[in-house]
C-alpha cells in the first residue's frame, strides 16, 4: 500500500477518518449536530460521513443545543457512544446545564450507576474576523469544571489519535478543534497541521503532552493553533541564538504537568501562550502548577493570552489581541 507511507491529511480528514473507523466497528457510535449530515459540518468535521452511514447515524438536528446535547447524554447513559457537535463553542451558553451538570456529573450523581461515554465536539478559535460571539476558544471555561476531559488537537496526527481515544473513553470528552487548523479552502491553515497520518488506527492517551521542538533556553507551553505560532517563533529565536522548547499540551484535562515541569527544570524559563482570555485561565493554571511542583526551577515567567476583552471583528484589532509569532518571540526574549 504505497499511499500508506506517503499520504498527508488535513486535520478535518484525520478527524473524519477516526470517526468513520469507530462507526464501522461499533454500531453504537453515531454523530449529531447542526449541519453535520448534508453539509458535512461547516468546518468539514463530518465530511462524507452521511454518505457512508446514512441519516440514522449522522443526524442533522434542530437548532436546540439543550435538546440534542441532552439526547446525547441520555443515549450515552443507555450504552450508546454519541458524538454531538456544538457548531461553535461560543454557543455553549444555551445548553450549559446539559454539559456541566448532566454530561459531566451524572456518573458521580448516580453513584457510578451510569457512565456517559459521549464526545462533545466543538469548533473553537478566531483569526478570521468572525467577531466576539464566534471566535472564542473558552479553553479555561470548560477545563475549570470537573467531570469531563478536554482535548485540543494541533495537527492531523493528533486529531486522529485523540479522536480514537475520545470515542473509546467511557467518560465524557470534550474535543475542541481549532477552525484555522482544519484545512478548509476558504480558511487556509498554516503549514504544520497537515501531517502524515497512518492508515491504521492508533490512540493518543490523554494527559500526554508532546514536545514539538526540543530546546535548552526557554520552555514555551501552548496548544491548538498557537503550537504552530510558537514553532514559527522558535525558528526566529534560533536565528538570534535562543533555543526554545515547544510543548503541545494536547489535553487540558488531564494536564501533563510532569512534562512541563521537567522542561522548565531544564530551561529555567517559562512562557505560556493561550488563545483564551488571560484572567483565571490556562496561563495562570500552568504557571501555578509549575510553581507548586518546582518553584526553584523558575527564573523567569511570561504569559501571553487574550486581554480580557470581547474579540474584535475588525482585522487589525483582532490581530492585535490574539498573540502572534512575533509576540511569542518577544516574550521568550524577555526571559533571557
Amino acid at each position: 500500500m504505497a499511499e500508506t507511507i506517503d499520504r498527508e491529511l488535513t486535520m478535518s480528514r484525520a478527524m473524519v477518518e477516526a470517526i468513520a473507523t469507530e462507526m464501522r466497528e461499533n454500531d453504537e457510535v453515531f454523530y449529531m449536530g447542526e449541519d453535520v449530515a448534508d453539509y458535512g459540518g461547516i468546518f468539514d468535521s463530518t465530511e462524507g460521513l452521511r454518505e457512508e452511514f446514512g441519516y440514522d447515524r449522522v443526524m442533522d438536528v434542530p437548532i436546540s443545543e439543550t435538546a440534542y446535547l441532552g439526547a446525547a447524554v441520555g443515549a450515552a447513559q443507555e450504552g450508546m457512544r454519541p458524538i454531538a457537535e456544538l457548531m461553535f463553542v461560543d454557543f455553549f451558553g444555551v445548553a450549559m446545564d446539559q454539559i456541566y451538570n448532566q454530561m459531566a456529573k451524572n456518573t458521580y450523581m448516580s453513584g457510578g450507576n451510569v457512565s456517559v461515554p459521549m464526545v462533545l465536539t466543538a469548533a473553537v478559535g478566531g483569526t478570521y474576523n468572525d467577531a466576539a460571539q464566534h471566535s472564542q476558544t473558552l479553553y479555561g471555561t470548560f477545563s475549570h469544571l470537573p467531570g469531563m476531559k478536554i482535548v485540543v488537537p494541533s495537527t492531523a496526527y493528533e486529531a486522529k489519535g485523540l479522536m480514537h481515544n475520545a470515542i473509546r473513553d467511557d467518560d465524557p470528552v470534550m474535543y475542541m478543534f481549532h477552525k484555522r487548523l482544519m484545512g478548509i479552502g476558504w480558511m487556509p491553515a498554516p503549514d504544520g497541521p497537515k501531517t502524515p497520518v497512518p492508515e491504521t488506527d492508533y490512540a493518543i492517551p490523554f494527559g500526554s503532552a508532546d514536545v514539538k521542538r526540543e530546546g535548552e533556553d526557554v520552555t514555551i507551553v501552548t496548544l491548538g493553533l498557537h503550537v504552530h505560532r510558537a514553532l514559527e517563533a522558535a525558528e526566529s529565536l534560533a536565528a538570534d541564538g535562543v533555543d526554545a522548547e515547544v510543548i503541545d499540551l494536547r489535553s487540558l484535562v488531564p494536564l501533563d504537568t510532569e512534562t512541563v515541569v521537567a522542561s522548565v527544570e531544564k530551561t529555567g524559563n517559562l512562557v505560556v501562550v493561550d488563545e483564551d482570555y488571560q484572567s483565571y485561565g490556562v496561563t495562570g493554571e500552568i504557571i501555578a502548577s509549575v510553581a507548586e511542583e518546582s518553584l526553584g526551577a523558575l527564573d523567569s515567567v511570561e504569559r501571553l493570552a487574550l486581554p480580557d476583552v470581547p474579540i474584535p471583528y475588525a482585522r487589525p484589532l483582532e490581530n492585535e489581541v490574539i498573540p502572534d509569532a512575533a509576540d511569542i518571540e518577544t516574550a521568550a526574549k524577555r526571559t533571557q
Binding site: 500500500m1 504505497a2 507511507i5 499520504r7 479552502g185 487556509p188
Partner: protein, 86 residues
C-alpha cells in the same frame, strides 16, 4: 528527464456541475513530489467557487511534479501535476 513522454497529466476530470466559473484553486495536496501512489489515491483537493472536489491518481506510480501548488489558481483542463506511471 528521460521518459518524460510517458508521464501522465493529473487533471480535474469532471468539472463540478452548478458552477459558473472556469477557474478553480488548489486547496490541499495530500502527497508530495516523489511519493508513490496507488491508482485512484487522493492526490489533492481543489475548489471551484465553493465546491470542493478531490483529484485522484489516474494511474499507479510516482508523483513526479506538482504544477499547481496550494493556493494556486487553475483553469478548466489545466495540468495540475505530472505522474510517472509504474
Amino acid at each position: 528527464m528521460s521518459g518524460e513522454s510517458d508521464r501522465v497529466a493529473v487533471t480535474l476530470g469532471e468539472w463540478p456541475e452548478d458552477t459558473d466559473s472556469d477557474e478553480g484553486v488548489v486547496v490541499n495536496w495530500f502527497v508530495r513530489e516523489g511519493a508513490t501512489v496507488d491508482e485512484g489515491a487522493d492526490l489533492c483537493e481543489v475548489q471551484v467557487e465553493k465546491v470542493s472536489v478531490d483529484v485522484h491518481a489516474p494511474a499507479a506510480g510516482t508523483l513526479d511534479e506538482i504544477v499547481c501548488g496550494e493556493d494556486d489558481e487553475f483553469a478548466r483542463g489545466d495540468t495540475l501535476a505530472w505522474l510517472e506511471p509504474n
